[in-house]
């Protein structure tokens, strides 16, 4: 296949994955909403989740299929330009969506967190949708500054970290929602299969503890690259600054948890705050910021 064909193929695969993730979204939505409906009809206090099991399974299957198709899309995008597919914000976004799905599937395999499927599929759809409509740029070779093996290392580490941060944020947000329900007299039926507050709390901590060294590595790899590209390993470029702020926020989160013993609501809010500094860096600094990291292609 020629480069142009590969690029078209990649675009097609993106649209296909968009359809698949939409199905996953509906499957997970049915899984959640059908539970509520059934409660009203049957008027049971203990709800039998087996009725929505099939929708849940379809959701998971679609997430896996979506992951594969999106993976192919990212791969062919890279092949079409003979490089790693991280040259502009469109490419960061589709890879980011892929990594978010990967983080979810990893957490699913390890901790059986199918309830996360709904928020994750919404996030993936939003990311892919924005990528296609706002951020799309035709496949092109890299500018000289990006021609370095560190592109693959630094950006991949940053994107994986971003995906896991986002999942941790979703877990923390779920924690806050569930806690609110419980304080107001108990969870609604649909939320009963979501794990206990304690498990949610632990899960978001574990995700962050797992990915914090990777994020540290992403920053250090960036510094090593900056040293060879710009002559300075740290220059307080806006993107660097916000990466540092995110790092500080997660470091504070880990300290607050491990040393001071923060749990539950306060830890969840700190987690969400730290995650939002990452999102701010990705969206605001990329699009409206100035500095040396201006490769968004916008």
């Amino acid at each position: 296949m020629t480069s142009t064909n590969l690029a078209y193929f990649s675009n097609g695969a993106i649209y296909a994955s968009l359809v698949i993730f939409t199905i996953a979204f509906f499957a997970h939505a049915v899984e959640v909403s059908w539970s509520i409906k059934n409660v009203e009809v049957s008027d049971k206090t203990e709800f039998d989740f087996s009725k929505t099991e099939r929708a849940g399974r379809i959701g998971t299957a679609m997430m896996i299929l979506g992951f594969i198709v999106l993976g192919v899309a990212v791969l062919t995008r890279g092949l079409s330009a003979h490089r790693v597919p991280w040259g502009n914000m469109y490419e960061f976004s589709i890879t980011g969506a892929l990594m978010l799905t990967a983080a979810y599937l990893f957490a699913f395999a390890k901790y059986k967190v199918r309830w996360l499927g709904l928020p994750v599929s919404i996030c993936v759809l939003l990311t892919l949708g924005t990528a296609i409509t706002v951020l799309y740029r035709p496949s092109a070779p890299l500018v000289p500054a990006l021609k370095s093996p560190w592109l693959a290392i630094h950006v991949l580490a940053a994107i994986i970290s971003g995906g896991v941060f986002l999942v941790a944020n979703l877990v923390a947000a779920t924690f806050l929602l569930m806690e609110r329900y419980e304080l107001r007299g108990g969870r609604p039926q649909w939320a009963k299969r979501i794990p206990s507050l304690d498990t949610l709390d632990q899960l978001s901590y574990r995700l962050i503890a797992f990915v914090f060294p990777l994020w540290t590595f992403a920053i250090i790899a960036g510094a090593i690259w900056a040293e060879s590209a710009w002559g300075k390993y740290w220059g307080w470029d806006p993107k660097e600054t916000w990466a540092f702020i995110t790092w500080v926020a997660y470091a504070a989160y880990l300290h607050a948890r491990v040393t001071v013993g923060w749990r539950g609501r306060r830890a969840a809010w700190l987690c969400i705050f730290a995650g939002s500094t990452f999102l701010f860096n990705y969206v605001y600094i990329n699009i409206w910021g100035t500095g040396l990291h201006t490769y968004s292609g916008l």
């Binding site: 070779p141 632990q202 590209a229 710009w230 390993y233 540092f244």
Partner: protein, 515 residues
């Protein structure tokens, strides 16, 4: 004596006395109190968060060292606001006293926190695990195991040793601990942060950084006067520059024809190091600087220098050569000034160099491609006083027209000449220039080692589980454990130990039956 004073003074003063009571502990006590506050975990955490918050303004306001033009334009559009922002160092956040104060306090706090812990940890490594608590049933995973009381301790010791626990055997109990590496990694991480800071400090105190624009064909000699701008660290002598000379022999930029974006820059140089020795051909590219010791030479930017000849009325050459122009957009429309002080009255040109000309009604002549395919030199000619003798330094890229009058406007194609009355100017050709950035940072290796050790420490500390297990033999065989920070996995270990202890019971039981 103070009591006497108090009796003479009124109530209000008495209250003041009470309020300043901490002073009574003496200066030493106050210092000790302050040190304890500073090195407490709480203060360290607050300082850490504060450092994050303090970094924000530098990313939102233009910084002098990154974007001086934007700072200058703010001073012209809103001088009062800019002046006030400057007073709070908002254009130079990362070198400001308040930012420095936060990170210095943080690192003092860190050192005060980490060093004692390191000594404590080093001592603890040599020590045995703490004694078994009296009441095991208050601990996690407490259970009574059905096992042989006589051999239980031996079996448990063997199992714990096999699983690399540190074991302390007492008369009727075992105390075992595992996961000291957690604290080791934790301390390694924090000590590495200090190493990074030392590297940063060394770099800023003993380093140098400078930039120079060099035309293709010209030679750059590494002395302070060759630079367009150069800054030295506080303790870096000016004579310590690496003694090399660099001749720019060729520069090739290639562009993507559809997007006009650059795809490759190759700078070919001849470098003599030290000056006077035979020179070697060295290729410098973006991401591939030339390294000599701790000094590196980077290819940072590039542009065009149009070559012109200016003649007076008699046809004598008043000025000839390439003039460096600064690129204005992605298609390298470049702006500059050509100054001819040797003519009377003096002549100056504000000019733009268009590498590949296109034109439209709305925009006039503009560049459509960054490579030189169909160049134009658009000139506006000025006559009068260039102001070069006024004493105030002026930019070589712009013309001070306050004492000049405009005498003409012309767009030149390659090789053509414009007669402006008092003389003529010919557009002879162009040269490329490159902006070399030369950096000496003797501290960066320390920062790098610090960073790598920090990751190592982080991985060790976040992925090591620290826990204790106790086995006690009294009337029953009891076991229990304690996992630091409630990290899961202890339960599985206790179950495995239980099984090991029960197996002995079964074997012994079987033996008993057979004999």
């Amino acid at each position: 004596m103070r009591e006497n004073q108090n009796q003479n003074q009124n109530q209000n003063q008495n209250q003041n006395q009470k309020r300043s009571e901490p002073l009574d502990i003496g200066l030493l006590g106050l210092l000790r109190w302050g040190w304890r506050q500073l090195t407490s975990m709480r203060t360290a955490l607050i300082l850490l968060m504060l450092l994050g918050v303090a970094a924000i303004p530098g990313s939102l306001f233009p910084q002098r060292n990154q974007n001086p033009q934007k700072v200058d334009s703010l001073f012209t559009t809103d001088p009062t606001l800019a002046k006030w922002m400057d007073r709070f160092h908002l254009f130079n956040v990362y070198a400001s006293p308040w930012f420095s104060a936060i990170y210095l306090l943080l690192f003092i706090s860190l050192i005060g926190c980490v060093l004692p812990r390191t000594f404590h940890h080093l001592k603890a490594i040599g020590k045995r695990p703490p004694l078994t608590p009296r009441n095991l049933n208050r601990m996690e995973g407490y259970r009574i195991v059905d096992s042989d009381r006589i051999v239980a301790l031996g079996v448990a010791k063997k199992w714990l040793k096999r699983n690399r626990f540190r074991v302390r055997v007492e008369r009727n109990s075992i105390s075992a601990e595992k996961g000291y590496a957690r604290e080791s990694g934790n301390l390694l991480f924090h000590l590495s942060l200090i190493l990074i800071l030392i590297g940063v400090a060394l770099g800023s105190l003993f380093g140098m950084k400078g930039e120079a624009i060099v035309n293709v064909g010209d030679r750059f000699i590494n002395t302070p006067t060759s630079y367009d701008n150069i800054t030295f660290g506080k303790f870096q002598g000016q004579g310590s520059l690496a003694p090399f000379s660099l001749t720019v022999t060729n520069f090739v930029a290639t562009y993507d024809p559809t997007t006009s974006e650059p795809s490759n820059y190759v700078l070919t140089t001849k470098i003599a190091n030290p000056i006077g020795t035979s020179s070697k051909q060295i290729v410098i590219r973006v991401n591939h600087p030339w390294t000599i010791g701790s000094t590196k030479v980077y290819l940072q930017a590039n542009g065009y220098s149009p070559v012109v000849t200016v003649r007076d009325k008699a046809g004598n050459i008043s000025f000839q050569g390439p003039v460096i122009f600064l690129p204005q957009d992605a298609n390298l429309s470049s702006l500059g000034a050509i100054k001819v002080p040797d003519m009377t009255p003096q002549i100056g040109f504000i000019a733009s160099f268009i590498p590949t000309a296109g034109s439209s009604v709305a925009r006039g002549i503009f560049s459509t491609y960054p490579e030189v395919l169909d160049p134009r030199l658009v000139l506006s000619a000025w006559q009068g006083n260039l102001g070069l003798d006024s004493g105030t330094p002026q930019s070589v890229y712009s013309l001070d027209t306050s004492k000049m009058s405009k005498i003409g406007l012309k767009a030149l194609t390659l090789g053509s000449t414009y007669d402006f009355g008092a003389g003529s100017i010919t557009f002879d050709g162009w040269k490329s220039w490159v902006n070399l950035q030369i950096v000496d940072d003797p501290g960066k290796m320390y920062a790098l080692y610090g960073a790598l050790l920090a990751i190592l420490g982080l991985l060790i500390s976040l992925f090591t589980r620290q826990r204790r297990i106790w086995v006690k033999v009294g009337n029953d065989v009891e076991i229990a454990g304690l996992a630091k920070n409630g990290i899961p996995g202890l339960e599985e270990e206790l179950t495995a130990l239980t099984r090991a202890l029960q197996d002995v019971q079964e074997i012994n039981g079987n033996k008993g039956e057979s004999t």
